[in-house]
């Protein structure tokens, strides 16, 4: 066969070095099968053997199977297995001290020689029976040299080599080289097994995290639903404003879209929740103040104003609603910095809060209240415009009026639905 080495010793050592380098660099491969096959092919070509085979431990099934087998004496891959209690596996799994075979290889020639010595058979008695079985197995597989590969104390696999086509015996240098290979292969296999188990563990962790995330989300949703129903309670306390929040929500979303706000994913939910819940804090305002017809006294106003903080407080357990809380807390801030509770100014007020402020005010102007009739949409527009720059963000007022006019022209919103 061409390509079989018959060249100088120097050339062979170069090859060996190259292969060792390759093996080491491939130790990190996720699936070591390719590396193992490459090594089998290299040995087969480089040394010209009757048989080159790699037996590897399948940890999930407690057995050893062939990954590759080459040469005239090859074994069909997938046909045979060796269970962990097979004499060959046992031979390399239990201590070989006090036998002449304590080194990490086994030559058929050495076995024959030693089994013929009566004193040896006597000395290792029970193990000599095992050795006879090992010898038989090696004969059956047409291999002359077997080299175990270990990782820590585990037998990861066995490199099995048939006799040379040239008929020459293996040299110690060659045996040492095969041992290096067996060691490298074992490292590659164990590393990949370890990586694989890490990957699996990671997947499992990710799966659990998703599960927890889902549960948490569900819990938050439930809490949100409760708050929503609370907000409806608030409305129920003021029968005249019934339907206010859902109108505010509709108008607010419309305005946000007109302003080109990013409403992807959670952003949309956040704004929607803020619009629906902006007055949820009114739950904590006494009925006599909340539903008082006519003007409030300065003391009553002070109590009324606390509804923004109360609203934010109610939402505290909702970690996902941090942003919603911030919006609710800021929806009575004024663009010129004279609002409450923190006297935020201009851009310091979240854009969502500036939207809530405009649409909430608008809706309050146009809808019927217990103490007065709702005013016309045109009047409301004029009032918004007159307060643009002081109470309201002029950009938001602009966008709001523009989009509402457009929606009304298209018939999506009617004056009566706004004023009911």
């Amino acid at each position: 066969m061409s390509g079989r080495s018959s060249g100088s010793v120097d050339k062979k050592i170069d090859y060996q070095q190259a292969l060792r380098d390759v093996a080491r660099s491939m130790v990190r491969l996720r699936k070591p099968d390719r590396l193992l096959k490459l090594i089998a092919r290299f040995i087969d070509r480089q040394f010209g053997l009757r048989h080159t085979a790699l037996l590897v431990h399948e940890s999930s099934k407690q057995r050893y199977v062939f990954v590759d087998s080459k040469g005239t004496g090859r074994v069909p891959v997938g046909l045979i297995k060796f269970d962990a209690d097979h004499p060959l596996i046992q031979w390399f799994s239990v201590s070989r001290e006090k036998t002449p075979f304590h080194q990490d290889y086994l030559l058929l020639a050495d076995i024959r020689k030693n089994l013929n010595k009566a004193h040896f058979r006597l000395a290792i008695r029970s193990r000599s029976d095992d050795l006879v079985k090992v010898q038989r197995t090696m004969g059956m597989l047409k291999v002359d040299l077997v080299i175990p590969g270990y990782f820590k104390n585990d037998l990861v696999g066995i490199l099995m080599l048939g006799s040379k086509l040239s008929g020459k015996p293996f040299t110690m240098q060659e045996i040492f080289f095969f041992q290096t290979l067996a060691h490298d292969c074992s490292m590659a296999i164990k590393t990949s097994e370890y990586n694989q188990s890490l990957i699996e563990k990671n997947r499992e962790l990710e799966r659990r995290l998703t599960e927890i995330e889902k549960l948490r989300y569900k819990e938050q949703q439930t809490y949100y639903e409760i708050i929503r129903s609370l907000a409806e309670e608030v409305e129920a306390k003021e029968p005249s404003v019934y339907g206010h929040v859902s109108e505010v929500e509709k108008l607010g979303m419309m305005t946000a879209r007109e302003l080109g706000l990013d409403l992807a994913g959670r952003n949309k939910d956040i704004l929607s929740a803020a619009l629906l819940l902006h007055d949820v804090g009114k739950i904590g305002i006494p009925d006599n103040i909340l539903t008082k017809p006519g003007h409030l006294t300065p003391e009553e106003w002070a109590v009324m104003k606390t509804h923004v903080e109360k609203g934010a407080k109610i939402l505290e357990p909702l970690s996902d609603f941090k942003k919603v809380r911030e919006i609710i807390l800021s929806h009575h801030e004024r663009f010129d910095g004279t609002g409450y509770p923190r006297r935020l100014k201009g851009e310091a007020i979240p854009i969502e809060a500036r939207i809530v402020c405009v649409v909430d005010s608008f809706h309050a102007i146009v809808s019927n209240r217990c103490y007065r009739e709702g005013r016309s949409i045109e009047t409301a527009f004029l009032e918004l415009e007159s307060c643009a720059g002081t109470q309201f963000d002029p950009v938001v007022v602009d966008a709001f009026i523009r989009v509402l006019k457009k929606e009304m022209a298209e018939g999506n919103v009617t004056a009566s639905s706004l004023q009911h």
Partner: protein
């Protein structure tokens, strides 16, 4: 008693490996690579034991098994296959298989089982 063994597998390499293994153990071995060939060889060669693969072209192993058992009920048939489902095993046993061995197999076990089948024939 003559030890006559028929190996049936569509993979020639498997047949040849097992042929060499059993010939080394003084068996008289014949091979076949399909169900049809298997029936033909059972007729001509008259094996004591047949090692029969299940998945094969022309005629699958289960069909071959039924036909062999119908005509030569004394011939021992051991199913050797990579397919291991409870249904398949039950099908094979119902069709008269004398054992069911899955690949990868232990050669020691295979040898012991074939030996036992031969001995049971000799004793009968």
């Amino acid at each position: 008693m003559k030890k006559k063994l028929l190996l049936v597998d569509d993979e020639v390499e498997i047949c040849e490996f097992l042929r060499s293994f059993f010939e080394d153990r003084d068996y008289n071995v014949a091979t076949a690579h399909s169900g049809v060939q298997a029936l033909d060889q059972v007729e001509k060669f008259g094996p004591n034991v047949v090692l029969l693969d299940i998945q094969m072209p022309e005629m699958d192993g289960l069909t071959a098994l039924r036909k062999i058992k119908e005509k030569y009920p004394k011939t021992k048939v051991i199913m050797v296959t990579a397919v291991e489902t409870q249904d398949r095993i039950e099908d094979a046993m119902r069709a008269g298989a004398d054992n069911y061995i899955t690949k990868p197999l232990s050669l020691e076990y295979l040898e012991k089982d074939v030996q036992e089948k031969i001995e049971s024939l000799a004793g009968a």
